[in-house]
Symmetry: C3
Subunit: 380 residues, 3 copies
C-alpha cells in the first residue's frame, strides 16, 4: 500500500456523482476511508474520514449530502474545505487552524476525480497525464454523466485482478460475449492493450489497424499511442483501435449504438474505441457514445473492490437515448467472469505446491506489470 | 487483561440472579468463562469453566441449575464448592483433593457479586470498598432483585467504551433523551461524575448542589463523595446529585416514579441520584426507586460486551409496582446511542492518519483514565 | 502438517466413489485440495488442484466427471494421468513434459484409496500395511460400494478428535446408544481398540474374547491382532472382537442384520467386528455385512473435517438388502455426540487456566498417541 498504491494517482470517480455543493461519497481503499466532497462549483476535496478530536468516523453513509462535516460523536464541525469550523469547550491554547481534517491529494482532470494517498508530495500529475489531455478532451469526459455504477467485490489480491485485466490469453476460453464482439486477430494483437500480445500478432493486425486509423484520421479524430515501460511511474497506456471489422457503432451485442448521443467532439461514428490506462488499477475504455471506467481497489491482501462506472453524454436521457443494461452489457458480463476466474486463481495460489509457471506470448503485459511492481518496491 | 483487568474487582451481577442452591450463570471475560454458582444461602463461588481432567467446558449453557458440576465429557463431577467429588478409574496415585475446579476470587458485598481474575492474591476488597458500605446499605442492594437485564455487544475496544462513559462532552450532540431529563449546567459540571467537567462549571453548579444536599441531608440521606486519583488501584468514585431542578422522582421520561416501592432506607423521595464507580468498567447509577448496574467486559481487542441490569426492591411486583420498559428507558436508549458512537470511533481509529486530538474541558476524567491505565501498565 | 500428517498414508475414500474413467472428487486437507481421479479401470491418480500456469484451481466442484482436466482460466488442459496435453501460444523453449500437474502419492489397496502428501518419498506402503492384507481381503473391500457418506465439520484441533476416538472413558457418560449395543466389560477392556483400557479389564474380558475367537476360527475366520507402538510410523492396529454377548448379527439397534448380503468371504455371521486403524486419522470398523470408514482431516489448527463412509457389498440393493439409516445409525449418532464433546473440549483448552490433567486407566491409548505425536515431531 505504501510503496505502490499510495504513490499513484487513483481514478476514483466522475464529478457528476457529486454535482451539488455538499455532495460526497466515501472511497474505501486499504484500511482507509476517504471523503470526496464538493465544496462549490469549482472545488472538490478529499479528506481522511477521521475526526481530529477522538478519531471517530465523520461521515457514516457511503454517500450523501452535508452542509457541514459534523462529527457525530462530539460535534466538532468542519467546513467543506476541511477546516475546523467549531469545537466546543476547548482549552485556551487550542489552535483551531491546526485541526482541519487530514487532506488527501485530489485532482480533477476532464471531469475525472483522481486521488493520491501519499503522506508526502504526490507525483507530478501534469507531467504524468498532460499527454492524455487531447484525447480525454476529445471524448468529452467533462461533459459526461454517470449512466450506471456497479460494484463487484473480489476475493483476490489486487495484483491478480490487474494481471487478469491486462492479458487476453484467457479471453477465448473465458469470455464468449467479449469474443463475439471483438475478432480473434485483434484480441491476440492488442486485446489487453498495446504490448499485450505476441509480437507477430501485432504485425499481422497492423494493416487493419492502419486502415481504420486512416479513416478515423480523415474524420479529424486523433490517434494517440502511449505505451510506458515498467520503469515509468504509472505504466500508463493510451491507444485507439476499431471495435471489430464489422463496422460496429458501439461495444454492444449487435453493434447498434449504445447511446444516440455521441460524446465529446465525435460528430460522426468512427467504429473505434479508445483504451486509457492511467495506472494498473485505473482504466477507461471509451466508445464514441459511452465509456466504461474501471476502478480496482485493494482492500487487504485477499480482497479487491471492483467498481465499474458507465458514462454517457450529460444530455443523454435514460430510456430515450440509452438503455442502461445495453450500455453496461459487455463489461458487466465480462467482469463477472473475471471475478470467478481471479478468485479461483487466488485459491490455487495458496497451495504449498503453487509456483509461478511460464508466461505465454499473450501475457507480455503481465511480465511488464511484474517488473513495474518490483521496480516500485525497490525504488521507494 | 493481565495487568489491568485481572487486577480489578469486577462487578458481574446481583445475587438475585442465582437465588437457589445450584443456580449458576457464566461470566465471559477476555478468553475466559467463569462459572458463578450458589452453593447455599450464604455461599456463592466462582470457578473457571475448565475441567481439571481434559479441559472441557463443564457448563455449556449461559445459565442454569446444577446439583453437581458434572463434566459432559468424562463425567468428572465437582461439588458446588468446586472440590472434585468423583472421577472414575483413576490410577492409585491420583490425589482427588488436588483436582478441584480452578477457583476465581469472588466477593459478595451488599448483594453485589464481584470477581477478580488474578492468579495471585487479589487486591484488598475491604480496603478498597469499605467507604462504599454506608451508601450501598442505604440503597438496600441486599434486598433488591433484578427487574430486567439486557446485553449490548459492542465492536470497540473496551477503553473506548470506558472513555465514552466517563465524559459528557458528547451528551449534547448524541443523547437527546438523556438531555431531556438532566439540565445542561449539571451535565457540564458532573455529567460523567465528579471531575468530568470544566472546573468553572462545577463551581457554578455548586449552589444548586448544596441546596439539594441540604434537603437530602435533612431527610437523613447521606451525601458521600469519593473521587480517587489516577494512581489509585480502582479510580473509584461515589457522588450524589439531584436528577434535575424539576423535582423528578426518578430518571424517567416524565419524572413520575419508576417504581412505587422505594429501595433501601429511603422513606421519602429526595429527587436525587447516586453514582457508584467501583472501577472504570463497573458502575451503578441509583435513583430512590431503581438502580442501573453497568458492566463493560473486554472480550478481545475489538469487542466489548456491555450488560445493563436494572434493580428494584425485591418486593416490588412487575406491572403492578413498576413497568420494565419505563425502568429501563433512559439507559437502554442512551447505551444504544453510545454503542453506535464507540463503534464509529473504533473504526476511525484504525486509519493510518488517526492521531489522538486534544481533550476538551469536559473530558477531564478521560485524561485521568488514560493516566490511570498507564499507571497500571507500569506498576504491574 | 509437514512432520506428522504429510508423513502418513491417509485413507481418503473408496474406489466406488469414482467408478468411471474421468470421475473425480476433491480431498481437502490443511490448505490443500487434492484431485483424486480415475484414469481407467486400473488407474486412479491424485494431483494438487493447482494449474501449472498461473496457479488457478483446475477443478471447481467437489466432485464430478472430466474428459480432460482443463483449467478454467487459460484452458491449459491436462490428461487424466496429469500430463500437460495442450497449452496455447507458449514460447519456443517451453517444455510441455515438465508441466504436468503436481502429483500426490496415491495407492489403492483392496479398493481403499490412500494418499500421502509428502513432497519426498512417502513411507513404504507395503512394509506398513501388508499385514492388513489378509483381513482386508476377507472383508472384501474390493467388492464393496458406498451405501452412504456423510460429513461432520468439527471446530476442534484434529488431535482432540483423535484423542476422543481412541478412548472409551467417555463412552458411558456420552454415548448411550453405543453402550446399548456393546457391553460395559468390553468397552472397558478394548472399547477404543487394543491397549485402550485398564490392564485388569482386558484380562477379565479375555475368556469371553477367547471363546468368541474359537467360534469364529472354527468358521474359518481369521483373528489377527496388530498393536503398534508409539515409535512406529503409523501406530496401526488391527483386532477382532464380538459385538456383544447377545449374538448381535450386526452393529444395529436390535442386533438384526444391517444388510442381508454378507461382505467378502463371510459365509456365515460370526457376530463379530473388526477394527482397522491405519494411522490415528484413518479407521475402518467392519461388521460382517457393512463397514464404517472414518476419515479425520485437519483443515487448520481449529478445524477438523470428519467424513464417515458406510460400505456394503457391491451387489446389495438399497431398500431391498439394506436401509441407509439403519446401516448408518450407530456411528451417525455417536459421531454427532463426539462432535459436541470435542468442540467443548477445544473451547475449554483455550482458557489460560487449562492444564492437562492426569489420565484415567481407560485412556492408555491417548498416552500412546501423545508419545507417538511427539516422536514424529522429533524424528522428522
Amino acid at each position: 500500500m505504501e510503496r505502490v498504491i499510495s504513490q499513484q494517482w487513483l481514478l476514483v470517480d466522475h464529478v457528476s456523482r457529486i454535482p451539488r455543493r455538499g455532495d460526497y461519497f466515501l472511497f474505501r481503499v486499504g484500511g482507509e476511508q476517504i471523503i470526496v466532497i464538493r465544496e462549490n462549483e469549482n472545488e472538490v476535496h478529499a479528506f481522511f474520514n477521521v475526526c481530529r478530536h477522538r478519531g471517530s468516523r465523520v461521515c457514516l453513509e457511503d454517500e450523501g449530502h452535508k452542509r457541514l462535516l459534523t462529527c457525530p460523536y462530539h460535534a466538532w464541525s468542519y467546513n467543506l474545505d476541511g477546516s475546523l469550523k467549531a469545537a466546543r469547550l476547548m482549552p485556551d491554547d487550542f489552535d483551531q487552524s491546526q485541526h482541519g481534517l487530514h487532506r488527501c491529494h485530489l485532482r480533477v482532470f476532464h471531469g475525472l476525480i483522481f486521488v493520491c494517498l501519499s503522506k508526502d508530495n504526490p507525483p507530478d500529475f501534469d507531467a504524468m497525464y498532460s499527454e492524455f489531455d487531447e484525447m480525454l478532451g476529445f471524448h468529452g469526459f467533462s461533459d459526461a454523466k454517470i449512466a450506471v455504477q456497479r460494484n463487484y467485490p473480489n476475493a483476490a489480491n489486487w495484483k491478480l485482478v490487474v494481471e487478469n485485466f491486462i492479458e487476453c490469453y484467457h479471453c477465448a476460453p473465458a469470455h464468449p460475449e467479449y469474443c463475439s464482439v471483438h475478432p480473434a486477430n485483434q484480441l491476440l494483437a492488442l486485446g489487453a492493450g498495446p504490448g499485450s500480445g505476441p509480437k507477430g500478432a501485432l504485425e499481422a493486425y497492423q494493416p487493419t489497424l492502419d486502415k481504420w486509423e486512416a479513416r478515423a484520421s480523415a474524420l479529424g479524430h486523433p490517434s494517440p499511442c502511449i505505451e510506458r515501460s515498467a520503469s515509468s511511474i504509472d505504466m500508463a497506456q493510451l491507444s485507439r483501435f476499431p471495435i471489430n471489422d464489422r463496422e460496429f457503432d458501439s461495444e454492444t451485442r449487435t453493434g447498434e449504438p449504445a447511446c444516440t448521443k455521441l460524446m465529446g467532439k465525435f460528430n460522426e461514428r468512427d467504429h473505434g474505441e479508445t483504451a486509457f490506462s492511467f495506472n494498473p488499477i485505473s482504466f477507461i475504455l471509451a466508445c464514441n457514445d459511452f465509456a466504461m471506467m474501471a476502478r480496482f481497489t485493494p482492500i487487504d491482501g485477499m480482497q479487491t473492490d471492483i467498481q465499474l462506472t458507465w458514462l454517457v453524454h450529460k444530455d443523454a436521457e435514460e430510456d430515450v437515448d440509452y438503455d442502461v443494461d445495453n450500455v453496461a452489457w459487455i463489461w458487466d458480463v465480462t467482469i463477472k467472469q473475471d471475478k470467478r476466474i481471479t478468485e479461483d486463481n487466488q485459491a490455487g495460489i495458496l497451495s504449498s505446491r503453487y509456483q509461478p509457471g511460464p508466461y505465454s506470448e499473450q501475457e507480455r503485459l503481465v511480465m511488464t506489470f511484474s517488473d513495474w511492481y518490483l521496480d516500485k518496491l525497490e525504488k521507494h
